[in-house]
């Protein structure tokens, strides 16, 4: 199974360019999972003990607002990373996530990965750098939405 995961991880954009040895290390913390459409993937306040790389299907990040219900924050598709609360204390999810369609993903055990990162600072730096890129990209998209770019324009 770890060998199969190695080749699977090599195709994931988050791990692009990592050598075989590193992929093997990561595969030791990974497993394949699937969620039926509508199934919860994570729930706010629960322990953030993993993160997921989507391989198939789509999922929504959402939050519950009293008297308004669940509000979708973002849709995530194949190739995207779901969850980064496993990185930082208190290791609790800040949002809910739900499978919008049937989802196949690779799950990574957070405690396992944190342990490997502490033992191998090079791996730790590499992984943190890559997650930082994911976070920065999400932050940029969020800023773009905050601008509300579809405001008034006279021409059209």
């Amino acid at each position: 199974m770890p060998q199969q995961l190695d080749s699977l991880l090599a195709q994931i954009p988050l791990f692009e360019g990592l050598n075989a040895e590193t992929l093997t290390l990561l595969a030791g913390c990974a497993s394949n999972v699937s969620f039926e459409a509508g199934a919860p993937i994570m729930r706010r306040g629960d322990p953030a003990d993993a993160f997921y790389v989507m391989r198939h299907g789509s999922a929504v990040l959402e939050t519950y607002i009293p008297a308004r219900g669940a509000v979708t924050i973002e849709t995530l598709e194949a190739g995207e990373v779901l969850g980064w609360s496993w990185l930082f204390a208190p290791y609790r999810w800040h949002l809910d996530a739900r499978a919008l369609t049937h989802v196949r993903a690779t799950a990574f055990d957070g405690a396992c990965l944190r342990g490997k990162c502490q033992n191998d600072p090079v791996l730790g730096y590499e992984l943190m750098s890559r997650f930082a890129q994911v976070v920065i990209e999400r932050l940029q998209w969020t800023r773009l939405r905050l601008i509300d770019v579809y405001g008034n324009d006279e021409r059209h």
Binding site: E62, G69, E74, L100, L144, V149, D153, E154, R155, H156
Partner: protein
Amino acid sequence: MSVTEPLTPGVMVPQPFRVLTRTQDTYDTFTLTFEAVHGEAPVIAPGQFMMVYVFGIGEVPISVSGVSEHGEVVLTVRAVGAVSAAICASREGSVLGMRGPLGNSWPIQSACGGDVVVVAGGIGLAPLRMLIRHVIASRQDFSAFSVLYGARTPGDLLYLDELEDWRKASDVAVTVDRADSDWHGQVGVVPKLVSSAHFVGDSTRAFVCGPEVMMDFTVQALLARGVASERIYLSMERHMDCGVGLCGHCQLGPTLICRDGAVYTYAEIGRWMGVREL
């Protein structure tokens, strides 16, 4: 002073056009079909615009969103100011003035044989609609074809019926910035769709229209996918008054958008985008 040459009809002098149909697309956006009251229907290329004059109120540039088989001009207008609101409120049978078509057009032929990706934000889908229809009508001349479209909310999405038709001949991805739980489509910004769209960067031409900030982010995503800046086409926008390169109000760097644009490659216009006071 004596007038030695008559003003060019259609470009300098508004011609009367009658409203044939008026359809409400969203709470603030309407699509109207016009016929020329006198003379022949104008020949319009995808990406061109008309200066639309509401008598007694004013004139604004509106991109052409379609031309019917009988040559009727189709405009999709969002009511955001006095003039555009008056256009949207125009009843069937009423007459408005129009000058045009003005500006250059999307260089569709340059994309033949390669992949095409269209990225539209908000009302920016309107100036791209003719291009999309052209590509679909000549689908065999192009390879992969993607239409990526984003709007503020599901209620702001344009041409919903057509979007479904376009799916038969292209990969259509739609996203909105905000949505309630009854929306089952994507939520997120439209530039994000570029990363998962089906095209090969070095054989792709991209056609982009929307708010400038959205276009800026989209360009960065396209460049990251390997689309050359010379192959990324943007429809630019600045305040236009005359529409024919005389008043200078739509100047952007060394170019006048009404005269030289509104379509530019990113290689041509990128350095001027985001420059303050331009």
